[in-house]
Symmetry: C2
Subunit: 289 residues, 2 copies
């Protein structure tokens, strides 16, 4: 299979669906809607959505059924980016090559755009009759025990010397939990068997961490064009801990590769419908080579 | 019935339940949990929770069943207070007589405490198997078409001259939608009949607006002890539009009283199990006399 064209096709599918799901009340202030659209339509990789779709299809489910879940995950991810970029957090001016939300709409509106996206994601899940266990997993992966908890750890860690265990704990919460929830949610939308779910859970955890390590490597090595950020090495400048700094560049690559192998190994019970998941795992790390 | 002791009993019930629902993962950073608890346990009136409980009981439902919904509503309300107080929004230093969340924990952690509460509210709703239509109504009343949308209007209105229609639109979204959702959610948890739901919808809308007008009056007239804010008249100081300033004090009171009568009239099909709702409507406005 051609992973690049697969990712591109899925990305377009998600983007079309996302635009259709922003059906707010006519009373919603246009400026708020604009702020939400600005970040949501900034053109990310849609990796969480695609993982949910690929996981659903690996378990024999149909794309149509998982699409609202895929879009809700992307709304939640975008909410987290808007808030992470705020001056009170990472204070970033650029994201995906464009000024960050608060730079365009102001800090207050950016807080609200994030809040609105988070609430709207759960509206979409409820509106489309998503099973309670799927909503529960997504909310858990998002909140104080997941992404928001990880961001809090990250905030507290700034300027401090971390060891590799501390760093892994941050990543596990901040990135890993929602990525793992994306994978298992897709599977649950296809009524996956317990054995399938178990394999996908392991896959999600390994891929989530691999993804973060690859991001850390890109942040050190990549061009601003690839990272979409102001300048590469910005994590180092703010003395944020990252894998290359703690482990070294080559050992970080080795670790990412090992995680990809782990992820693929945990898909052994899947036939060729699991191939997109296998290729996504490879692709995530290949970006950083 | 003694409305004050009714409210006190319900408030204690909600507070006990709330503490029990903050069961995050052991990996959740303690400081984030502390920030969440600080605001959640600051002792509000719990009016949204109590409306949901009273509405459920008016329709013959049991308190036990509506308790998770009541607590989720309170988490969502608290999230909105934390974010509204931020320097990028209303920039308030005091809330309920104590320093605001960001004054104690910093702006970044306050943003995350709010985010975490919002996500955790939906986790609680999903975890306890809340029907999709209830979650949908709560998410709609919270997001860009509800409370968050109203706060965005409020933010844009600062320093501008508003007319009474503008002000009512802000309040309808910012306070009205979630209060109305509280009332109807409680009814739905009791499997209310369509006629009951219709009456309660009208009740919720009228009470929501009455509540806001009463708050505006208190803000002009009340002592800092009653309002818990730094100084009374702070809305005026920041040239925020409010009912007393636009309509005058006495006409504002008249309007609030008329809304209470409307609210009570829409409960005509309810027997004495609707009395708490009637008394709550009266109590809300009596605060401001």
């Amino acid at each position: 299979m051609n992973i690049k064209s697969y990712l591109e096709k899925k990305r377009e599918r998600v983007n079309r669906a996302l635009a259709g799901y922003l059906d707010f009340s006519p009373e919603t202030p246009p400026r708020l809607k604009e702020a939400i659209q600005y970040s949501l339509e900034a053109g990310g990789k849609r990796i969480r959505s695609i993982l949910a779709m690929a996981s659903c299809e690996a378990c024999g489910g149909e794309e149509e059924k998982v699409l609202p879940v895929a879009c809700a995950l992307e709304m939640i991810h975008t909410f987290s980016l808007i808030h992470d970029d705020l001056p009170a957090m990472d204070n970033d001016d650029l994201r995906r090559g464009r000024p960050t939300n608060h730079k365009v709409f102001g800090d207050g509106m950016a807080v609200l755009a994030g809040d609105g996206l988070l609430a709207h994601a759960f509206w979409l899940l409820a509106k489309t009759g998503t099973p309670a266990e799927v909503m529960e997993a997504i909310a858990w992966g998002t909140g104080p025990s997941g992404m928001v908890g990880g961001q809090a750890l990250d905030l507290q860690a700034e300027g401090k010397k971390l060891n590799i265990q501390d760093l892994e704990r941050i990543h596990r919460l901040k990135t890993g939990r929602l990525i793992a929830a994306s994978v298992t949610s897709g599977a649950r939308m296809a009524n996956a068997a317990p054995g399938q779910l178990e394999g996908l859970q392991k896959y999600g955890q390994a891929v989530g961490l691999a993804f973060q390590i690859a991001d850390d490597i890109l942040n050190v090595e990549g061009s601003p064009k690839e990272t979409g950020k102001q300048k590469t090495g910005s994590d180092q400048k703010r003395s944020k801990a990252a894998y290359p700094g703690l482990l070294g560049l080559e050992p970080s690559r080795t670790k990412a590769n090992r995680l990809v192998e782990e992820a693929i190994a945990s898909l052994s019970i899947f036939d060729d419908r699991g191939d997109p998941l296998r290729e996504i795992a490879r692709f995530i790390v290949a970006r950083s080579h």
